[in-house]
């Protein structure tokens, strides 16, 4: 059975990110001849000496003209074992919001380090954002090994330096691969130039990394998305609660409680149009029926009486601000979307702004502007049913929407209920 693995990359023009992705796609036969011909023709026209594989991923006219990646691009390739979705994002600090976006759904982050330069500000920032977004696996590709004479010593030095910096971050799984994206060493096949390296090639690592344990299978959470009432003769009294399992597992017979009403019942069946299932888990989209008729609507949460999320209107979260049109300041009012629940929120307090390069906390900050991240307290008009983001990425995340422009202006990762002092 082929599994799905989503990974995020971040990088700028010089660090070989596009070449690495191009290499993965090309060597796994996921680039097509007509795409390659178009890229070759454009490279030649632009006077480039070699085929610029970045043109494969830079899809917008403005990106090709300016030779930069502006936005998140999604790329796809597959091997017999796995299907991969790459969220390819620009690496410069001015595109922090795009990196956060690409990282939000990733199982794994690829961090690129130029072997000649070692760890630079950008490597630290990318790693920090990956850990902030709780990407469970981090792979550091130490690239351009061909330019440091395939030096094991250089690789080990960078690895040691990275490890030292990483001790301050919460990283679940960290690996290092020495590669030359340009020449293909250790990308798909093991390198003959680096016989001292006894680990996997990058692609082999991507195929084998264990992701099945990354989801929360402990805390049952089922945000009700849509109520199905067919009103047909065959299904006259049918009342099904449709949604996507956001945590834990659910089985027929389980005792449940519905939030916010507090009504309890037991699960009668878990259904899909292909038939009933014995057990549902994240991220399955299913329909749940209950043994009692109780009033449930979109935005309610089905969970277990002895395992409930936090219910509250005062929430502390790390927020990334994503617009240049306004700033986040105390008393800003916004729309908030959390699971299937929508409400309004007001900014009560900004605790600190985080410098994404140094991790320094500026506790005097009184606002957040575009691409800035900080710890914020919010008060919502309705209670939300939430978990810590570190415990559950689905029930621990929210977006903030400007009620005037309707733009998505903030992304939030919940730390917990606000500690009232």
């Amino acid at each position: 059975m082929a599994e799905l693995l989503r990974f995020a990359t971040a990088g700028s023009v010089d660090d070989g990110k596009s070449t690495l992705i191009g290499r993965l796609l090309y060597d796994s036969k996921s680039i097509f001849e007509d795409q390659l011909e178009a890229v070759e023709a454009t490279s030649e026209r632009m006077g480039s000496e070699y085929v610029n594989l970045a043109l494969l991923t830079d899809g917008l006219r403005a990106e090709r003209e300016q030779g930069i990646t502006i936005d998140v691009a999604y790329r796809y390739f597959a091997t017999p074992n796995r299907k991969f979705i790459i969220a390819d994002t620009p690496g410069h600090i001015q595109y922090t919001r795009n990196m956060v976006t690409g990282a939000s759904t990733a199982d794994l982050a690829l961090i690129l380090v130029d072997a000649r330069n070692g760890i630079v500000e950008q490597s630290r920032r990318h790693t920090f954002l990956a850990t902030l977004l709780r990407i469970p696996h981090i792979v550091v590709c130490i690239n351009k090994m061909d330019l440091v004479e395939w030096s094991e010593e250089r690789f080990e030095d960078i690895k040691a330096e990275f490890r030292e910096f990483a001790t301050k971050l919460e990283i679940g799984d960290l690996s290092f691969v020495p590669v030359s994206a340009l020449l293909g060493d250790n990308v798909v096949d093991r390198s003959d130039n680096m016989k001292w390296y006894d680990g996997s090639s990058l692609l082999h690592h991507l195929e084998e990394v264990h992701i099945a344990s990354d989801r929360n299978l402990i805390d049952p959470r089922f945000p009700v998305q849509y109520v199905i009432r067919p009103f047909s003769n065959e299904f006259h009294d049918y009342r099904g609660y449709a949604g996507t399992v956001a945590g834990g597992t659910m089985k027929p017979g389980d005792e449940i409680i519905v939030l916010p009403s507090g009504f309890t019942s037991t699960i009668k069946s878990i259904e899909t149009s292909d038939g009933r299932v014995d057990e549902a888990f994240s991220p399955m989209s299913v329909t749940v029926t209950l043994n009692d008729e109780i009033d449930i609507s979109r935005g309610d949460m089905i969970c277990r009486p002895n395992n409930q999320p936090t219910i509250g209107q005062d929430i502390d979260a790390m927020v990334c601000w994503m617009t240049e049109q306004s700033k986040l300041v105390p008393r800003t009012k916004l729309a908030i979307k959390h699971t299937t629940r929508s409400a309004r929120a007001m900014v009560k307090d900004i605790h600190y702004r985080l410098d994404v390069n140094t991790l320094h906390r500026d506790e005097h900050a009184d606002h957040l502007q575009l691409n800035e991240i900080g710890r914020v307290s919010l008060r919502t008009t309705l209670p939300l049913f939430f978990d810590e983001y570190r415990r559950n990425r689905e029930t621990g995340s929210f977006i903030l929407i400007d009620e005037g422009t309707n733009a998505t202006v903030g992304a939030g990762m919940i730390i917990g209920p606000t500690q009232l002092t």
Partner: protein, 302 residues
């Protein structure tokens, strides 16, 4: 014993169903665009699954260029009836007759680009606030950058530089009156995923997706079918070949590929081994320039 793992197709299916339900829950008047092509047939199946055992809570709409393959139109009508859905037709011919758009002339005339006007008019006339489309990100490089929820202003325009960030599975469908959202629930599917799903689910497709004999001629490296909608030029040689279609669009700009793949399994083997993208092989509309798709999307195209 449950293994707590989903195959990639089940994970994609689940994501798509989540998106479709989200739209039905949050919008007042969604509509599903439906051409009778393989992607829209997969999307329709996903929509049926999302609301089972209830009916589809929205109509389907076909933008009919009037230059379609008859097999596909017959198939469309049969499939929509089977789904019990209401069919809205936005007609390019009507728009030409009313003088809203001008037919291109010459042997290379195509109605492809003309679809945008009747599409936007129908959205406005019916007050649709969300329109599902079956576009996939692997199809084309501008599409690779487009959101699942793609905001369109009151002119139906897409602004690629001003897209809303899209995080986790939280979609922002807020819009003002007159604006709408295009929703692409199968954004993350590839051509091969579609075919594997067609096989797994036993989804019936129009016959032109499978190998058949047809009178064709070569133009710009593509095999175009001889039909009443297209003028064969003098130097172009008509021959009968065994072909199939990888995409199904307007007959005047959709090319066939030589193929003997007569079953789903044959097609999967062929797609897995192919070295040319489906739009590259078969769509003249994307060959106009490197940004042809981006330009059309900015105008409000699918």
């Amino acid at each position: 014993m449950t293994t707590y793992q989903l195959s990639h197709l089940r994970a994609l299916e689940s994501e798509s169903i989540h998106i479709i339900r989200e739209v039905a829950a949050e919008f007042e008047r969604p509509v599903m665009l439906f051409s009778g092509g393989k992607d829209s047939l997969v999307m329709l199946r996903l929509a049926e699954k999302a609301f089972w055992p209830g009916p589809l809570p929205f109509p389907v709409m076909h933008v009919d260029t009037g230059h379609n393959f008859q097999e596909v139109i017959d198939f469309r009508d049969r499939r929509v009836a089977e789904a019990g859905a209401k069919l809205v037709i936005a007609s390019v011919q009507d728009a030409i007759d009313k003088g809203l758009v001008t037919e291109e002339t010459g042997p290379r005339a195509s109605r492809n680009r003309l679809q945008t006007v009747p599409l936007l008019n129908a959205i406005e006339e019916h007050g649709f606030d969300a329109a599902f489309g079956g576009a996939r990100r692997d199809e084309e490089k501008a599409r690779a950058k487009e959101r699942v929820y793609s905001f369109r202003d009151e002119f139906g325009q897409w602004d690629p530089k001003n897209q809303r960030p899209e995080l986790w599975s939280l979609y922002n469908g807020r819009h003002r009156k007159g604006e709408h959202i295009r929703v692409f629930p199968i954004s993350n599917w590839t051509e091969l995923d579609i075919w594997q799903y067609v096989s797994d689910e036993g989804i019936e497709l129009p016959s032109i997706y499978y190998a058949h004999e047809r009178e064709v001629f070569e133009r710009d490296g593509m095999l175009l079918a001889v039909s009443e909608f297209i003028t064969v030029q003098e130097h172009e040689e008509v021959q009968t070949l065994t072909v199939r279609y990888r995409t199904v669009g307007d007959a005047s700009c959709t090319g066939a590929v030589e193929s003997s793949a007569a079953t789903v399994e044959d097609v999967i083997a062929e797609v897995a081994g192919t070295r040319i993208t489906e739009r590259g092989a078969t769509r003249a509309d994307d060959r106009t320039s490197e940004a042809a798709m981006e330009d059309r999307k900015r105008e409000g195209y699918f």
